[in-house]
Protein backbone atom coordinates (compact mmCIF):
# COMPACT_ATOMS: atom_id res chain seq x y z
CA UNK A 1 0.00 0.00 0.00
CA UNK A 2 1.46 3.34 -1.00
CA UNK A 3 1.01 5.96 1.67
CA UNK A 4 0.45 9.56 0.66
CA UNK A 5 2.35 12.35 2.39
CA UNK A 6 -0.66 13.37 4.49
CA UNK A 7 0.21 12.74 8.16
CA UNK A 8 -2.04 10.46 10.18
CA UNK A 9 -4.22 12.06 12.82
CA UNK A 10 -2.89 11.70 16.38
CA UNK A 11 -3.31 8.30 17.95
CA UNK A 12 -6.11 9.04 20.39
CA UNK A 13 -5.78 6.02 22.66
CA UNK A 14 -2.33 6.98 24.02
CA UNK A 15 -3.47 10.25 25.64
CA UNK A 16 -5.59 10.97 28.67
CA UNK A 17 -7.88 13.51 27.05
CA UNK A 18 -9.05 16.73 28.71
CA UNK A 19 -12.83 17.31 28.67
CA UNK A 20 -12.80 19.64 25.66
CA UNK A 21 -10.95 17.06 23.56
CA UNK A 22 -13.12 14.23 24.87
CA UNK A 23 -16.35 16.00 23.84
CA UNK A 24 -14.76 16.85 20.50
CA UNK A 25 -13.86 13.26 19.59
CA UNK A 26 -17.20 12.04 21.02
CA UNK A 27 -18.90 14.19 18.40
CA UNK A 28 -17.37 12.04 15.68
CA UNK A 29 -17.92 8.75 17.45
CA UNK A 30 -21.56 9.66 18.08
CA UNK A 31 -21.96 10.73 14.46
CA UNK A 32 -20.94 7.23 13.38
CA UNK A 33 -23.23 5.62 16.00
CA UNK A 34 -26.10 7.82 14.80
CA UNK A 35 -25.44 6.64 11.26
CA UNK A 36 -25.76 3.03 12.43
CA UNK A 37 -28.93 4.04 14.28
CA UNK A 38 -30.19 5.47 10.99
CA UNK A 39 -29.79 2.04 9.41
CA UNK A 40 -31.74 0.49 12.31
CA UNK A 41 -34.47 3.10 11.99
CA UNK A 42 -34.81 2.30 8.28
CA UNK A 43 -35.05 -1.42 9.11
CA UNK A 44 -37.76 -0.52 11.64
CA UNK A 45 -39.69 1.36 8.91
CA UNK A 46 -39.26 -1.58 6.50
CA UNK A 47 -40.67 -3.90 9.16
CA UNK A 48 -43.79 -1.72 9.48
CA UNK A 49 -44.25 -1.76 5.71
CA UNK A 50 -43.78 -5.56 5.61
CA UNK A 51 -46.92 -6.16 7.63
CA UNK A 52 -48.04 -7.34 11.04
CA UNK A 53 -45.96 -10.51 11.38
CA UNK A 54 -42.61 -8.95 10.45
CA UNK A 55 -43.36 -5.93 12.59
CA UNK A 56 -43.88 -8.20 15.59
CA UNK A 57 -40.12 -8.98 15.57
CA UNK A 58 -39.33 -5.25 15.84
CA UNK A 59 -41.96 -4.88 18.53
CA UNK A 60 -40.47 -7.67 20.65
CA UNK A 61 -36.93 -6.26 20.19
CA UNK A 62 -37.79 -2.64 20.97
CA UNK A 63 -39.99 -3.39 24.00
CA UNK A 64 -37.43 -5.77 25.56
CA UNK A 65 -35.03 -4.58 28.25
CA UNK A 66 -31.99 -4.88 25.96
CA UNK A 67 -33.88 -3.01 23.24
CA UNK A 68 -34.71 -0.20 25.65
CA UNK A 69 -31.10 0.01 26.87
CA UNK A 70 -29.83 0.21 23.28
CA UNK A 71 -32.47 2.82 22.49
CA UNK A 72 -31.37 4.87 25.52
CA UNK A 73 -27.72 4.71 24.46
CA UNK A 74 -28.70 5.75 20.95
CA UNK A 75 -30.71 8.67 22.37
CA UNK A 76 -27.67 9.72 24.40
CA UNK A 77 -25.47 9.62 21.31
CA UNK A 78 -28.07 11.54 19.30
CA UNK A 79 -28.49 14.25 21.93
CA UNK A 80 -24.72 14.63 22.40
CA UNK A 81 -24.27 15.08 18.65
CA UNK A 82 -27.14 17.59 18.55
CA UNK A 83 -25.88 19.64 21.52
CA UNK A 84 -22.28 19.64 20.34
CA UNK A 85 -23.51 20.34 16.79
CA UNK A 86 -25.17 23.53 18.00
CA UNK A 87 -21.87 24.49 19.62
CA UNK A 88 -20.09 23.81 16.32
CA UNK A 89 -22.48 26.19 14.58
CA UNK A 90 -21.56 28.92 17.08
CA UNK A 91 -17.89 28.15 16.44
CA UNK A 92 -18.49 28.44 12.70
CA UNK A 93 -19.59 32.03 13.25
CA UNK A 94 -16.51 32.69 15.37
CA UNK A 95 -18.08 32.65 18.83
CA UNK A 96 -16.84 30.73 21.86
CA UNK A 97 -13.10 30.41 21.34
CA UNK A 98 -11.69 32.90 23.83
CA UNK A 99 -10.53 32.22 27.39
CA UNK A 100 -12.17 29.28 29.08
CA UNK A 101 -15.35 29.38 27.00
CA UNK A 102 -14.52 26.06 25.24
CA UNK A 103 -14.42 24.41 28.68
CA UNK A 104 -17.66 26.06 29.79
CA UNK A 105 -19.43 25.12 26.58
CA UNK A 106 -18.15 21.53 26.92
CA UNK A 107 -19.71 21.36 30.37
CA UNK A 108 -22.93 22.84 28.96
CA UNK A 109 -22.98 20.26 26.15
CA UNK A 110 -22.53 17.38 28.60
CA UNK A 111 -25.15 18.78 31.03
CA UNK A 112 -27.76 19.32 28.33
CA UNK A 113 -27.11 15.87 26.91
CA UNK A 114 -27.59 14.18 30.28
CA UNK A 115 -30.67 16.29 30.99
CA UNK A 116 -32.32 15.58 27.62
CA UNK A 117 -31.48 11.88 27.64
CA UNK A 118 -32.61 11.48 31.24
CA UNK A 119 -35.90 13.26 30.74
CA UNK A 120 -36.70 11.41 27.51
CA UNK A 121 -36.04 8.05 29.19
CA UNK A 122 -37.99 8.96 32.33
CA UNK A 123 -40.97 10.34 30.42
CA UNK A 124 -41.33 7.79 27.64
CA UNK A 125 -39.22 4.67 28.08
CA UNK A 126 -39.78 3.71 31.71
Amino acid sequence: MSLSKVPLSPHLQVYRLPLVALVSISHRVCGVINGMGYALFIIFLISIASGFETYNISYVVFTSTIGKILLSLWLFSLYLHICNGVRHLFWDFGYGFSGNSPLISSLLVVSFTVLLTGSTILLYLM
Binding site: M1, R28, I42, Y59
Partner: protein, 113 residues
Amino acid sequence: MLHGKKHWLYHRLSAILLLPLILWCIYSLSLVPEITYQNMVLWTSKTENYIFLFILIIISVRHFQLGIQVILEDYVSDKKTRDFYIKIINITYYLLSFLGIASITKIYFGVHI
Protein backbone atom coordinates in the same frame (compact mmCIF):
# COMPACT_ATOMS: atom_id res chain seq x y z
CA MET B 1 -18.29 13.31 -3.77
CA LEU B 2 -18.44 16.90 -2.61
CA HIS B 3 -15.30 18.87 -1.79
CA GLY B 4 -14.19 22.04 -0.06
CA LYS B 5 -16.57 24.96 0.21
CA LYS B 6 -19.68 23.13 -1.00
CA HIS B 7 -19.07 20.18 1.31
CA TRP B 8 -18.66 22.49 4.29
CA LEU B 9 -21.78 24.49 3.43
CA TYR B 10 -24.03 21.47 2.74
CA HIS B 11 -22.88 19.87 5.98
CA ARG B 12 -23.93 22.95 8.00
CA LEU B 13 -27.17 23.54 6.09
CA SER B 14 -28.24 19.92 6.56
CA ALA B 15 -27.36 20.18 10.27
CA ILE B 16 -29.55 23.28 10.69
CA LEU B 17 -32.46 21.58 8.90
CA LEU B 18 -32.00 18.34 10.87
CA LEU B 19 -32.11 20.05 14.26
CA PRO B 20 -35.89 20.72 14.30
CA LEU B 21 -36.66 17.60 12.24
CA ILE B 22 -34.95 15.13 14.59
CA LEU B 23 -36.42 16.76 17.70
CA TRP B 24 -39.86 16.60 16.08
CA CYS B 25 -39.30 12.91 15.26
CA ILE B 26 -38.34 11.98 18.84
CA TYR B 27 -41.17 14.06 20.31
CA SER B 28 -43.79 12.82 17.87
CA LEU B 29 -42.77 9.16 18.32
CA SER B 30 -42.84 9.56 22.08
CA LEU B 31 -46.51 10.61 21.86
CA VAL B 32 -47.49 7.25 20.34
CA PRO B 33 -49.15 5.53 23.33
CA GLU B 34 -47.76 2.07 22.57
CA ILE B 35 -45.76 1.03 19.53
CA THR B 36 -48.27 -1.59 18.34
CA TYR B 37 -48.54 -2.34 14.63
CA GLN B 38 -51.78 -0.37 14.22
CA ASN B 39 -50.41 2.67 16.07
CA MET B 40 -47.21 2.72 13.99
CA VAL B 41 -49.13 2.44 10.70
CA LEU B 42 -51.40 5.28 11.85
CA TRP B 43 -48.40 7.40 12.89
CA THR B 44 -46.54 6.91 9.61
CA SER B 45 -49.61 7.50 7.45
CA LYS B 46 -50.52 10.88 8.92
CA THR B 47 -49.81 13.28 6.03
CA GLU B 48 -47.62 15.71 8.00
CA ASN B 49 -45.66 12.82 9.56
CA TYR B 50 -45.13 11.27 6.13
CA ILE B 51 -43.78 14.54 4.70
CA PHE B 52 -41.49 15.22 7.68
CA LEU B 53 -40.19 11.63 7.68
CA PHE B 54 -39.56 11.86 3.93
CA ILE B 55 -37.44 15.01 4.37
CA LEU B 56 -35.73 13.63 7.50
CA ILE B 57 -34.65 10.43 5.71
CA ILE B 58 -33.18 12.32 2.74
CA ILE B 59 -31.41 15.10 4.64
CA SER B 60 -29.98 12.86 7.37
CA VAL B 61 -28.52 10.45 4.83
CA ARG B 62 -26.66 13.31 3.14
CA HIS B 63 -25.51 14.68 6.49
CA PHE B 64 -24.14 11.26 7.47
CA GLN B 65 -22.39 10.74 4.13
CA LEU B 66 -20.73 14.16 4.38
CA GLY B 67 -19.65 13.49 7.97
CA ILE B 68 -18.24 10.05 7.33
CA GLN B 69 -16.28 11.48 4.39
CA VAL B 70 -14.56 13.95 6.72
CA ILE B 71 -13.68 11.17 9.17
CA LEU B 72 -12.28 8.93 6.44
CA GLU B 73 -10.29 11.83 4.98
CA ASP B 74 -8.70 12.33 8.39
CA TYR B 75 -7.92 8.72 9.26
CA VAL B 76 -7.35 6.87 5.98
CA SER B 77 -4.28 8.27 4.31
CA ASP B 78 -4.26 6.10 1.18
CA LYS B 79 -6.44 7.94 -1.33
CA LYS B 80 -7.56 4.87 -3.27
CA THR B 81 -8.64 2.96 -0.17
CA ARG B 82 -10.31 6.05 1.25
CA ASP B 83 -12.30 6.78 -1.92
CA PHE B 84 -13.34 3.13 -2.05
CA TYR B 85 -14.72 3.26 1.52
CA ILE B 86 -16.51 6.54 0.84
CA LYS B 87 -18.12 5.10 -2.27
CA ILE B 88 -19.23 1.89 -0.54
CA ILE B 89 -20.77 3.84 2.35
CA ASN B 90 -22.44 6.31 -0.02
CA ILE B 91 -24.02 3.53 -2.07
CA THR B 92 -25.13 1.57 1.01
CA TYR B 93 -26.74 4.63 2.58
CA TYR B 94 -28.44 5.76 -0.63
CA LEU B 95 -29.91 2.26 -0.84
CA LEU B 96 -31.04 2.44 2.81
CA SER B 97 -32.67 5.84 2.31
CA PHE B 98 -34.40 4.56 -0.82
CA LEU B 99 -35.77 1.57 1.12
CA GLY B 100 -36.93 3.91 3.90
CA ILE B 101 -38.74 6.20 1.45
CA ALA B 102 -40.27 3.18 -0.32
CA SER B 103 -41.47 1.77 3.03
CA ILE B 104 -43.16 4.92 4.31
CA THR B 105 -44.69 5.52 0.86
CA LYS B 106 -46.11 1.99 0.86
CA ILE B 107 -47.57 2.52 4.35
CA TYR B 108 -48.94 5.96 3.43
CA PHE B 109 -50.70 4.88 0.25
CA GLY B 110 -51.76 1.59 1.82
CA VAL B 111 -53.90 3.62 4.21
CA HIS B 112 -54.97 6.46 1.90
CA ILE B 113 -56.02 4.52 -1.21
